[in-house]
Every structure is written in C-alpha cells, then in structure tokens.
C-alpha cells in the first residue's frame, strides 16, 4: 500500500490511515526522507489519528524519522495521538527516550512547526 505524502507550502504531510506492517513502515520511512530531500521541505507532519495502537517499535520508528529529518533540515511534528494511545505510551516507559514534537491536530501541528522553524531562524540570525 502506497501512503501519499502531500506537500503543503514548505511542509510535507503524511497521513497514516491504517496499521502498517514492518515492511510498509520501512518503505514509508525511506519515501519520506527522499521527498524531504527532493522538495527541500523545512517541516514534516505525521498524522496518526487513525492509529488505535502505537507500540514501542512504532514509537521508535517515529522518533528515528524525526531525528533523520532533522539532519536533512526538516522539523517533525507528530499529530493526532489518541488519549488511550498517549496513556499507553507513557506506561510503556517510552518517554525516557522520546523527544518527538507533538500537537493535537493538523492545524496545531502547522502552528507548532512555524514556531519551531521561526525560533531556529531567529536564533540563526543573531
């Protein structure tokens, strides 16, 4: 299954619509990073509203994508984590290593990305 990666302004938006197998996850990971490089995106939003479970493997994958995207010059925000998934991730103990930016929904995610990028640019000028 191909997962569409949309470009909105300078951002890429990926909406995960169903549970993914490991192969699909690694392919998506690859596709995202290639697209970031291709279009010179400064931001990436991953929408996981449709996921009713995020295990430690998926959690680590999201964290890896964010770290790699950062190296390519793009900030990442994960949006749409459900309350039950948030409780579970915290119980799993994933917070120890999880440094992924998060926002409630797409709109908030875009707002947060703009803030993150703006802060970096201001920091770079001074």
């Amino acid at each position: 299954m191909d997962i569409p990666i949309l470009k909105i302004e300078d951002f890429l938006v990926v909406t995960i619509q169903s549970e993914l197998s490991d192969d699909e996850i690694s392919k998506l990971q690859e596709d995202i990073l290639l697209r970031i490089k291709d279009v010179g995106a400064t931001g990436l939003i991953i929408d996981i509203t449709a996921l009713d479970i995020v295990d430690s493997f998926m959690g680590r994958t999201l964290s890896n994508v964010a770290a790699t995207a950062e190296l390519l010059g793009a900030k990442t925000v994960v949006v749409g984590i459900r309350p039950a998934v948030a409780v579970t991730l915290v119980e799993l103990g994933i917070r120890v290593k999880w440094n992924v930016n998060t926002a409630l929904n797409l709109e908030r995610g875009r707002k947060l990305l703009k803030q993150l990028i703006g802060a970096e640019q201001r920091g770079g000028v001074s």
């Binding site: 549970e19 009713d52 295990d55 039950a84």
Partner: protein, 140 residues
C-alpha cells in the same frame, strides 16, 4: 475449539501475524467490556510480546482467552506467548528495561509488564520462553 470458549490461538512468524494477534486481542477485550484505555494497553502488550517472538525466536504462538482470578471475584483476559527460541539469560536485567542486544527487548518486556496487572515469565537459555500476562476488568 468452540465459539463460547472464547479462545484464540495465533501462530507468530512474521510482522503480519503481530497485527493479526493484536486484532484478536482487541476484539476479545472489547467484547468483554474493557474500556478504550485498557483495550489499548492489552493490544499494545500483545504487540510487544509477539514482536519479541518474531525478533528473537523467529516463530512461536500466542493464545488469548478469558480468565478468572483464583478467588473468583475478578474477570479478565489472559495472554500466553510461547516460543522455543534462545531464551533469556538475565530476566531481572531485561525486566528493569535495561539493555538487550537489539536495544528493544528491554522496553518490550518491561513495557508489557507495566501495561498489565499480572506478568509471569519462564525462560531457560536454549529452551525457549513462556510469558503469561493478565489484565482484570475494573470494578465499576
């Protein structure tokens, strides 16, 4: 295996089987009346344990069914994961969420333990691992 026994067995050999096992777990948990948070915790615990099977043992099986506490005052769900893989040498260390060769076993086991009410592990190096986890319905 009859319908009303509510017992499901899934053979685990690939990541597609992990998704199948999760689906079965969620289905039974929902049917038994677990709330959404507990459904998610149970499903995630199944995901962690079955992934360990795929990663370390290659194959194994998981059974999911209804459970009752010994005193008979609590109902819940029990998940048993069995493999004949390499086993675990230092269970204590792994359960602390500490190191493992792939860097993921620790979080998987200790995570599954955190998410459930009961956790029991039997493992011998070279002979495989049996992990039993349970979660009880909350009194409402």
């Amino acid at each position: 295996m009859s319908e009303d026994e509510e017992m499901t067995k899934v053979n685990i050999a690939s990541s597609a089987d992990i998704i199948a096992a999760r689906g079965k777990g969620r289905e039974l948990a929902m049917k038994m009346g677990f709330n959404v948070v507990d459904q998610t915790k149970i499903t995630t615990a199944i995901s962690e344990l079955t992934r360990n099977i795929v990663t370390y043992a290659g194959k194994g099986e998981v059974t999911i069914e209804k459970a009752q506490s010994e005193t008979g005052d609590k109902n819940g769900i029990v998940v048993v994961c069995v493999d004949e893989g390499p086993g675990i040498k230092d269970i204590g260390l792994v359960l602390k969420g500490g190191v493992s060769t792939s860097g993921s076993l620790g979080l998987g086991l200790s995570g599954a333990k955190q998410l459930m009410d009961e956790f029991e592990i039997k493992s011998k190096p070279g002979e495989g691992t049996i992990i039993t986890i349970k979660k009880w319905l909350r009194r409402r």
